[in-house]
Symmetry: C2
Subunit: 166 residues, 2 copies
DNA sequence: GCAATTTCGTTCGATCATCAAACTAACCCA
DNA sequence: TGGGTTAGTTTGATGATCGAACGAAATTGC
């Protein structure tokens, strides 16, 4: 009973962990090389990816942290002149987070190392290999995501799935 | 409707990010459900995986954090009776980190949710699909790990080296 | 054998991330 | 108009993380 098909499950888990580990360690170096913390860089990246504008709420949701945390991250980024806040015109409760020129610089100065490395390797693959890899990754993502974990930038009205029910 | 024939590279990156995101958010819930922080849980898990004994140095290396950080994590775990430290006999500079019964409990009480979810899905796949998925994951892990995982410098706009010399 | 060096872990001081709870301001609905 | 809801902040607390300085043990050089 040593190496049954069980083995494959384990191996795939190990591979998955290697992927996670590599990217995690990477993201730290990456942020550091831009003089930022991982969390701060993520705020900038997400904002940049959203066309340079985002609300704290959206950031909190997408990052999976509380709004209070986002406030504190924004405070720091603003203090360093990487982002700025502006009241929304249409809904004056909301703030629009905008990147400054410095902020945009920081984002492009810190190219996503994971992305770079991965992309260059991916594009060296043969066509059918790419297709295969893509299918596999999507499958894994599905397997992990199961339910709709919110990948959408837009806010969905409705309650927040919180395990703590009051 | 959703996607125009987007580039495969992009799509695979998106899938990869979904994987990372899912696992990251997951690991937080997971640790919390065990009354621990993610970092603390990882110390316990790594120690458990090493047969219940590890040195701070080894933990620091594997986790990718400084030794000082490990010291502080161990202080907390020890204070809560989840782990304990013992001087090594063979090399009295070293400490052996050991799990207490509580510590072992905590590890098994916090089943790796990611693992659970993934495993059950994986094992539902057809045999050839499993093989395919495994191959793909290992490939991606390779792509990310690349032999020279050194803290690569910043930018390097444009050209990207390909040290894929097997 | 002994001084110099390296390795292992800790302490200290500082910065940052993170949260919950309480709070303000704005929106919305009836 | 007022009650309920939503967006964001403030506050106070805990924890993760690091670098630098440190002590102790091992290793190396000679």
């Amino acid at each position: 009973m040593t190496d049954a098909p069980r083995d494959r499950t384990d191996q795939s888990l190990i591979a998955l962990r290697r992927i996670l580990r590599a990217t995690e360690l990477y993201s730290r170096d990456l942020a550091q090389s831009a003089g930022l913390t991982p969390a701060q860089l993520r705020v900038l990246q997400i904002t940049a990816a959203r066309d340079g504008s985002a609300t704290p709420k959206a950031l909190a949701t997408q990052m999976g942290v509380s709004q209070a945390t986002v406030t504190s991250l924004l405070d720091r980024l603003e203090a360093r002149g990487l982002a700025k806040r502006e009241r929304s015109e249409t809904d004056r409760r909301q703030m629009n987070v905008l990147l400054t020129q410095s902020g945009r610089n920081a984002v492009s100065t810190a190219p996503d190392a994971l992305q770079q490395r991965y992309v260059s390797a991916f594009e060296k693959l043969k066509d059918w290999e790419q297709a295969q890899l893509l299918a596999s990754l999507e499958r894994v993502a599905e397997m992990l995501n199961a339910d709709d974990m919110d990948a959408s930038p837009v806010l969905t009205t409705g309650e927040i799935k919180g395990p703590t029910g009051t």
